[in-house]
């Protein structure tokens, strides 16, 4: 188990170390981990650099907005798919999963043209809408599983108690699926927060996101490992914190729905 723990943590820890020490101290055969060498310079530098803060803010805005859109539209859609029987339902559900198979590469150029046509290229709105489209199928797929787990008798009880469909969804189904919804929301956030490729293609300047900025420390004439590691840590920490805070729900939500035969 210790081995497993080291395996899980060591890489990330090493990157954190990298962000805290001058790279000259580490790029040798005997890394010098003298704590006196420890410095937060690179964090201070990055967190006071507008060209880094802007992407940070962009990512946060895009992540939150995407999550909200996905959860609102996704739960409405998933609820219908979970509770109504109609022809093509299975196919629709499956296609939600199949969307996962689409390589983003193939969509980049057409998406660009589309966003440009609507005047939302290189804007946060453009990213939000695009991410929503990519993440929604996954959200719907997961939420359908959660909604289906709600005992039908609860909804029947609500009908008897005088709820209409909308009220059932808002007052019964959604609160009951809360753990699953939380997990799904976090997944949605992480997915949009982590995306690199679409952000790379669909933004130039204004709407650059954190991963793009983070990757850009690999410059042609300026490979700044310390900053890259720092940016890596800064990019990863919010999702790590989120994931750890909500770990119980995530494990349940992410995995159990998938496992139930």
């Amino acid at each position: 188990m210790a081995v497993l723990l080291v395996y899980l943590l060591a890489p990330f820890v090493w990157m954190t170390v990298y962000s805290l020490y001058p790279s000259t101290a580490l790029q040798t055969l005997t890394p010098d981990l003298d704590p006196r060498q420890l410095r937060l310079d690179s964090y201070v530098a990055l967190l006071s650099d507008p060209t880094f803060l802007r992407p940070l803010a962009n990512s946060a805005i895009v992540g939150i907005a995407t999550t909200i859109i996905c959860m609102v539209l996704g739960s409405a859609c998933a609820y219908v798919l979970a509770r109504f029987r109609f022809r093509g339902r299975q196919a629709l559900l499956l296609s939600m999963l199949t969307v996962q198979a689409i390589p983003v590469i193939v969509l980049a150029v057409p998406l660009f043209i589309l966003l440009r046509a609507f005047g939302v290229y290189d804007s946060l709105i453009g990213l939000i809408v695009t991410y929503s489209a990519f993440i929604l199928p996954l959200v719907v797929w997961m939420l359908v599983g959660f909604f289906e787990e709600i005992p039908p008798s609860l909804e029947r009880a609500a009908i008897i108690d005088g709820c209409n469909r909308m009220q059932i969804m808002v007052r019964i189904a959604v609160p009951l699926a809360a753990p699953g919804m939380a997990a799904t929301a976090i997944l949605a956030f992480i997915t949009s927060w982590s995306d690199f490729f679409l952000a790379k293609v669909l933004t130039i300047t204004d709407a650059i996101t954190l991963p793009v900025r983070t990757a850009s420390f690999q410059g042609l004439f300026a490979m700044d490992y310390t900053s890259a590691a720092t940016a890596g840590v800064i990019t990863a920490v919010p999702v790590l914190v989120l994931a750890l805070l909500a770990q119980r729900w995530i494990i349940r939500g992410l995995v159990e729905g998938a496992v139930k035969g």
């Binding site: 790029q27 660009f112 290229y121 130039i204 300047t205 793009v212 990757a215 850009s216 410059g219 004439f221």
Partner: protein, 416 residues
Amino acid sequence: GCVGANSTDSNTGAEDGPLAPGDSPSGEITILDDNTNQVFQDSTIAAFEAATGITVRTYTQGNFNDLHDRFATLFAAGDTSIDVVMTWAGWTAEFGQAGWLQELDSAAVPDDLIQPALDAVSWDGKVYGLPKFASVQTMFWNKNMMGEADLDPEAGPQNWDEFVEAAKAMTTEDRWGFACDVGNPAGAYQNFLRVLLLNGGDMYDDEFRPIFNSEHGVEALAKFAELLTVHGVMDPASLQTTNASDLGDQFARGSTGMVFNWPFQYAVATAAESQLDTESVGNGLIPGMSVRSASIDGSEGFAISKFSQNKDAALAWLQFAASAEVQREIVEREGWFPVSQTVLEDPQSREALPVLETYEESTQYATKRWGVPWSNELDQLLSVQISDVLNERTSAQDALDSAAQQTQELVDRYLG
């Protein structure tokens, strides 16, 4: 930058012909540059605005590695929000051929431009922009290591054999005589092109037939590979080094005796964190095999987007950036080479940047880049072959024959 869809402007009428300087351009322009230069942001823009009355609405720096994809998407969609883009030899050919860059009239081109720098913004006889700085590789060496190896620290090796001997002498348990950056396709191409020129070879003949698999080429590649496989003087990490900056850092760490690198190496090697200083950095011509020396070009410039709505103003920026005033600053503050002969010959420049001397010397020898529309494909296929050679999976002859044959297909596709 927001995207203005298909607005028709006064300038579109001139779309078909090359662009000549207009009278008193005005208005706004948007510039998308890479992040090599700080000087524009720091002072040039203000000076430009003061001098011309044109407003630079936004000046944005992108990461060089990201820019290609962005430009490609922008141009493909006919984006009108960017007026000026950064360019270099590869992109000039590629985007120029795609019809995405505005051709310039000869009236717009200053006449004292250094040839390789002008080449970097030209393709197929047309000029698509103006250079913003010149960049040529020279040799840098670690004088301390030279001294420790009982070599004369002041005089670098004069030819390839001396170079190999010096590299051998400097290679120890944890130091290497030589290192380079063949880790990615562009690097592979550059390193090959350099030795090819050093051995008196060339990429194409007059009809753009690939001839790099000539005897010169094969011998050059073989000799290059021998650094690693026979002499053991090339740091094996060179095979994974994907950019010049890693190489520069490596040299600055004092673990490599000699590198062929771009001008910025000097600044890196003499910076505070470096193990070296002005005293211990040696600089000179790259030693040749069958010729005295040769080098490769990495000059950058600005070009005007075909979809720009204010090409006159954009041209004004291009010209301003190439002007002596700005070029001096680039030399003094950033350590790049100037694009104009005038500034190059100015003693003041020489004083600010000692390596300029080597640069001036190098202008006597072949300095090429061969930016072509198929640069990306070529880099890619060449990198596979060169990697095979370096890993001793194939011979230099077979590798280059195969590469030449594939290149011929590309030439046919793009020029046929």
